[in-house]
Amino acid sequence: MRMLLIEDNDTLADACREYFCNLGHPLDWAGSVEQAERNLSFDDFDLLILDINLPGRSGYQLLQSLRSQGKRIPVLVLTARAEVDDRVSALDLGADDYLVKPFDFRELAARCRALLRRERGDASNQIQCGNLTYDLAAQSAQINGQPIDLRPREIQLLELFLKNLDRVLTKDDIANRLYTFNEAYTPNAIEQALTRLRKQLADSTLIIKTIRGLGYLAHVND
């Protein structure tokens, strides 16, 4: 995957390049919105990491012009301001995620992967989550290339979680998607399916957390 970092602090930009280079992902760097627009005009990128406070035009303006041109490229916004209003407006303007400076590189990389995963999941039949691969067409899952044995209900459950990563699913949400109107089900049945699924996923980087009183949340820990 190819990523473009738009950031005016040289030290931070250099560190980012080195970090992503070590991970095996080339990272291009632009110091201003104008330069970023030149890069975007003759290269294709899978992801933009965009700082908001830039010399000249601000990151918001680039984001706005990209979205008004109908470009759907995932954008992760970096902001030095921790005010929630700032984040909300970034998301309102069409950013896909945000991260507040100072941030942990591991966090940045994880967020980038999550964004790319979302993009790929829509485009191809395969969802890659860390060491877990799920084939939408074949409805089969592999951990580190090893197929795992899942029953139909568990497959449905896994697919539901993969499509709703980092979101809370209530028991009702799950029941509505897994069971048709006529099928009788018990909350117990869902829990049993979940317990078995968790056991099968024990070696994977996909974690399904229970939030008591609220529901379930799946997260890829890569």
């Binding site: 980092d166 809370v168 974690i207 939030i211 609220l214 997260h219």
Partner: protein, 462 residues
């Protein structure tokens, strides 16, 4: 305090009002003086007219059965006392026939003869006259009936006397009025002097001067001086709090910075590269601490600032808590910490500032994660509180805080355990948020054995 009234000068207003009042009094007094002067003038000249007419009447005698007149000289002498006035007279006999004088002098209306003199006003030949009619009943043989003497005088002397009295009285009145205005003006200045003195003193003060304004013996001004002094004390207190906060914050930041600096220095001169990873790890840890401290300091400042300026609007606390908890679970998905949520309130909307409330709850959850065991059980709950308020409760299964340390836990930069890297600002931020919402913060023991923090938000009514 804002006032929609336009600016005005107390001095000008008082003087204007006094002047208006004095003018009204002046007009009333002037009318009285005029009335009195006219009466006085009429009184004196009527007496003169009366005496002269009586004296003329003395000169009436009967000769040959016919009344006749011997005009006494004294009467004319008397009338000379008003030299600028013309005098007219008429004497008629019992049959109404003219004996002597002007035949066409105006007669009084509704006249009934009597022994008393009859005064009246009339116009004659274009001149205003004051007239008196004196009557005398003759009872001699052959001559019996009323003889009338009419004496008239123009009014010049009267007018002069009236003008003279009026003029002198008005002059005195105006003098008194002006004197009153001057006294009022001086009085106002004298009364306002302490105010100017206070403002002059305040203006001349250096910003570093923290002494109180000296007390004033003037009872009316004392409350003002007292109010200024207590306001100043309040500001000074706030300033002191701020100074302590800045001092504490600088201490914390400098300590973290110098630790990092020291480790960097050592790392730069180290001979054995094998120890580098260890040093770097230390530097990284210190740096993380500094980052967290900076974030918390800014969050604290933000929360306090918003508390001062932000208007609270009703928001759905249930939705907010679910959202924050979801983020928190996502951030700690890799750990063994278990999370729970429980809402027992049907009404979940209260006035709140979502930004600072989010900061407070994030801090409570972070604290629970930070100070709890690795298999912590953290549960967030929303319960109805008295007066339509809501209790946001965060329970953990950590070590808790012993009751005698709970007050201290709310103070800034007071870390109870030195082992864990905390900023010492977490609960202070939550406390500031609680205060900004008019709510309360309670530190209790959780039924699960750990700590329970209860953030109470007041309901709509308060």
């Amino acid at each position: 305090m804002s006032t929609t009234e336009p600016e005005y000068s107390l001095r000008r207003r008082l003087v204007t009002r006094t002047a208006v009042l004095l003018t009204v009094v002046f007009l009333m007094l002037s009318y009285g003086v005029w009335h009195y002067a006219r009466q006085a003038a009429n009184y004196s000249y009527d007496r003169l007219l009366n005496s002269a007419s009586l004296s003329i009447m003395e000169g009436v005698f009967v000769r040959n059965g016919e009344p006749d007149l011997d005009l006494p000289y004294a009467a004319m002498e008397m009338m000379q006392l008003a030299p600028s006035d013309k005098v007219f007279y008429q004497v008629t006999d019992q049959a109404g026939m003219l004996i002597t004088g002007y035949s066409d002098l105006p007669r009084p209306p509704d006249f009934a003869p009597s022994e008393k003199p009859h005064f009246y006003n009339a116009r004659y030949n274009g001149e205003a006259l004051r007239l008196v009619m004196q009557s005398k009943r003759l009872t001699e043989a052959g001559v019996s009936g009323w003889v009338h003497v009419t004496l008239a005088q123009t009014r010049n002397a009267r007018q002069e006397l009236l003008a003279d009295i009026l003029y002198k009285a008005l002059l005195t009145l105006i003098g008194v009025m002006l004197l009153t205005l001057v006294i009022v003006w001086l009085g106002i200045n004298r009364a306002l002097q302490p105010l100017s003195l206070i403002s002059r003193t305040l203006r001349r003060r250096r910003p570093s001067d923290t002494s109180r304004l000296s007390a004033t013996p003037i009872q009316e001004v004392a409350p003002l001086v007292e109010a200024i002094n207590s306001y100043q004390q309040q500001l000074l207190h706030n300033l002191d709090t701020m100074k302590v906060f800045i001092a504490d914050a600088s201490h914390q930041i400098r300590t973290a910075l110098s630790a990092t600096q020291a480790q960097l220095d050592i790392a730069a001169q180290v001979a054995d590269p094998a120890t580098l990873p260890h040093r770097l790890e230390t530097i990284r840890r210190e740096h993380l601490r500094l980052t967290r401290l900076t974030n918390q300091l800014l969050a604290h400042a933000m929360v306090v600032h918003r508390g001062d300026t932000q208007q609270l609007a009703p928001i759905d606390i249930d939705a907010l808590l679910k959202q924050i908890l979801t983020e928190c679970v996502r951030d700690h998905a890799h750990s063994d910490i278990e999370f729970g949520y429980h809402c027992t309130s049907t009404q979940t909307r209260v006035p709140a500032d979502s930004v600072s409330l989010r900061e407070a709850i994030r801090n409570l959850l972070d604290n629970a994660v930070r100070y709890g065991p690795s298999n912590n059980l953290i549960s967030l709950a929303l319960e109805p509180a008295p007066n339509a308020g809501l209790d946001i409760i965060v329970d953990d299964s950590g070590p808790g805080i012993p009751p005698h340390l709970r007050r201290q836990a709310l103070q800034r930069f007071s870390r109870l355990a030195s082992t864990k890297e905390g900023s010492g600002l977490g609960l202070a931020i939550v406390d500031a948020v609680a205060q900004a919402h008019g709510g309360e913060l309670f530190i209790e023991s959780s039924p699960a054995g750990g700590l329970r923090i209860r953030l109470r938000l007041p309901g709509q009514s308060t």
